[in-house]
Amino acid sequence: MREWRRVIGGSTEGRREKEQQRGDAALWSKCPKCGEVLYRRDLAANLDVCTRCGYHFRMNAYDRIASIADGEFIEIGQDVVSSDPLGWSDKKTYPAKLGADRERSGVSESVLCGFATIGGFPVALGVMDFHFRGGTMGRVAGERITLLLEEAERRKLPCVIFAASGGARMEEGMVALIQLAKTTAAVARFMEAGNFFMTVLTDPTTGGVSASFAFQADVIVAEPKAMIGFAGRRVIEQTIRQRLPDQFQTAEFLLEKGAIDMVVDRRSLKDTLVRLLEYTRHDTKAR
């Protein structure tokens, strides 16, 4: 088994320091939906949901973990670090892009995986972060998610993955795309062994991630107004040469079309997950 790291309270010291260094600029955030200027601390207390209009900001993975886990998050796979399989370079080299995103986002890659309890239920938890390379799936994300599912299968734990992704990562080419095959195989094994798999689709969940584990779950939950789909909105608009209605590809649209199970406000998400997890404990610890 790989080396484990503990993240207490779902946040790292390094990240807190960085936020302090940013100073005043980090104190306020403007809601992109209603324009309200929000005090960062109030916003955080409200789980990054606009206190005025309910807009769900894209969440940092550590904040997400803190909002869902009871306390401790034991990360696995953090020693799976990026490589540069194609030797990619355009305006910047790929390693330079990764370095910049690590710095900016405070996360080591587009997904963090580990174990935690949610309302007392031990679960395997994966959380994607759109701030790192648009949450794209590359070799690291594929490997971490596979490790998570394999370890969850060994421990017979339910698995919950929060998706936030623009799809497969271009700079890793086919090496990125093939990760969808790898995670698919791991999901299939995990589920066939009788384990419960749940995904929470957050804004945005598109492309290869959407077309693989995000939609392979037993139960699919989405956050309000999250954009979810296979093709990006721009691509579709270019193809059909007309503007799409605002509602198109939102969580609510998918619910109506029968593609997902429920749309849940972030502020009641943890309670919802706990309720659902209660159905998986029939064999043990019955009250």
Binding site: D84, P85, P95, V235
Partner: protein, 328 residues
């Protein structure tokens, strides 16, 4: 769409081909011996052919893979001993951009599934340029499950620029359709052999390409996104597609090196369409050999090896693929 650079090059060759044919005819009709001239022209022709098509850049291969005369899935499927097409996803409609059904390959019953682009404008419109809708992937999943239940090997032919990006495809949950198709192939308890015969574009191609043995024609391409799509995503400029093609590592040689492709099938100089009959026969022989080898494995071992193959992809020993920098 005839902005195909290979087609343009062939137009230049056509004049030379015509002159050789004329000279040959004249030489046969006249008492005058013109065989030296014919031989010289033919030599020149072969030299030009070699120069034009001997080594193809990734971008040239993208155009070769999209060549309108390149053999399509049905060109292969129609050369099986028998093919009985099955239709429909059992939910909504039949998607003509994926064809599939029962077939006999060298007398062996199989399920064959392929993405089918049109061979002319009319057919392209009917087959949505080979871009499958969710109904196509649901048909493929259904056929894969059928194959597994009957114990029939699955043979696929991949040729798509990608899954259909349209309104109704989104309304009918394209993501779910592809995700389920990936699962059906990952778990099918029968041998799966996939051949990328043209363009293998992103998740829409992968949906038919999770296989125990993946083959690729020499000039086919297989990539995370089309070069145009990649350039649009990264640089907001689809015009930089040639540059994207060079960077994406989408050729058969690249993918063989990554272990994503297991076997490369050679093409005649100038591309598969220059001797389609031969390419089809050799491809079917290679498919048959792979199916025969895989069929001899116990099913548990087959599934374990398929899992391990994908499990280990991305975890190479290659020096160039070593991790860079440490995460913190």
């Amino acid at each position: 769409m005839s902005n195909n650079i290979i087609v343009e090059r062939e137009k230049g060759m056509a004049e030379l081909e015509r002159r050789i044919a004329e000279l040959r005819a004249a030489s046969a009709a006249q008492p005058l011996d013109m065989s030296t001239e014919v031989a010289a022209l033919e030599k020149k022709y072969r030299e030009i052919l070699q120069e034009l098509f001997g080594t193809l850049s990734p971008w040239e291969k993208v155009h070769m893979a999209r060549h309108p005369a390149r053999p399509t899935s049905l060109d292969y499927i129609s050369r099986f001993d028998r093919f009985d097409e099955l239709h429909g996803d059992r939910h909504y409609r039949d998607d003509p951009s994926i064809v599939g059904g029962f077939a006999l390959l060298h007398s062996r019953p199989v399920i064959v599934i392929g993405q089918q682009r049109g061979r002319d404008t009319r057919e392209n419109l009917r087959r949505n340029f080979g871009m499958p809708a969710p109904e196509g992937y649901r048909k493929a999943s259904r056929l894969a499950r059928l194959a597994a239940r009957l114990g029939l090997p699955i043979v696929t032919f991949v040729d798509t620029k990608g899954a259909d990006p349209g309104i109704s495809s989104e309304e009918h949950a394209q993501s779910e359709a592809i995700a389920s198709c990936l699962q059906a192939f990952a778990t099918a308890r029968v041998p799966v052999v996939a051949t990328i015969v043209g363009e293998g574009g992103s998740g829409g191609a992968l949906a038919l390409a999770i296989a125990d043995h993946v083959m690729m024609l020499e000039h086919s391409t297989y990539s995370v996104a089309s070069p145009e799509g990649c350039a649009a995503i990264l640089w907001s400029d689809a015009g930089k597609a040639e540059e994207a093609a060079a960077r994406l590592k989408l050729t058969a040689d690249d993918l063989r090196r990554f272990g994503i492709v297991d076997e490369i099938l050679a093409e005649p100089l100038g591309g598969a369409h220059r001797n389609a009959a031969d390419v089809v026969v050799r491809t079917l022989a290679a498919v048959d050999a792979a199916v025969a080898r895989l069929s001899s494995l116990p099913v548990e071992r087959l599934l374990e090896e398929r899992y391990r193959k994908y499990r280990l992809l991305g975890e190479w020993q290659d020096e160039r693929l070593k991790p860079i920098g440490k995460s913190h």
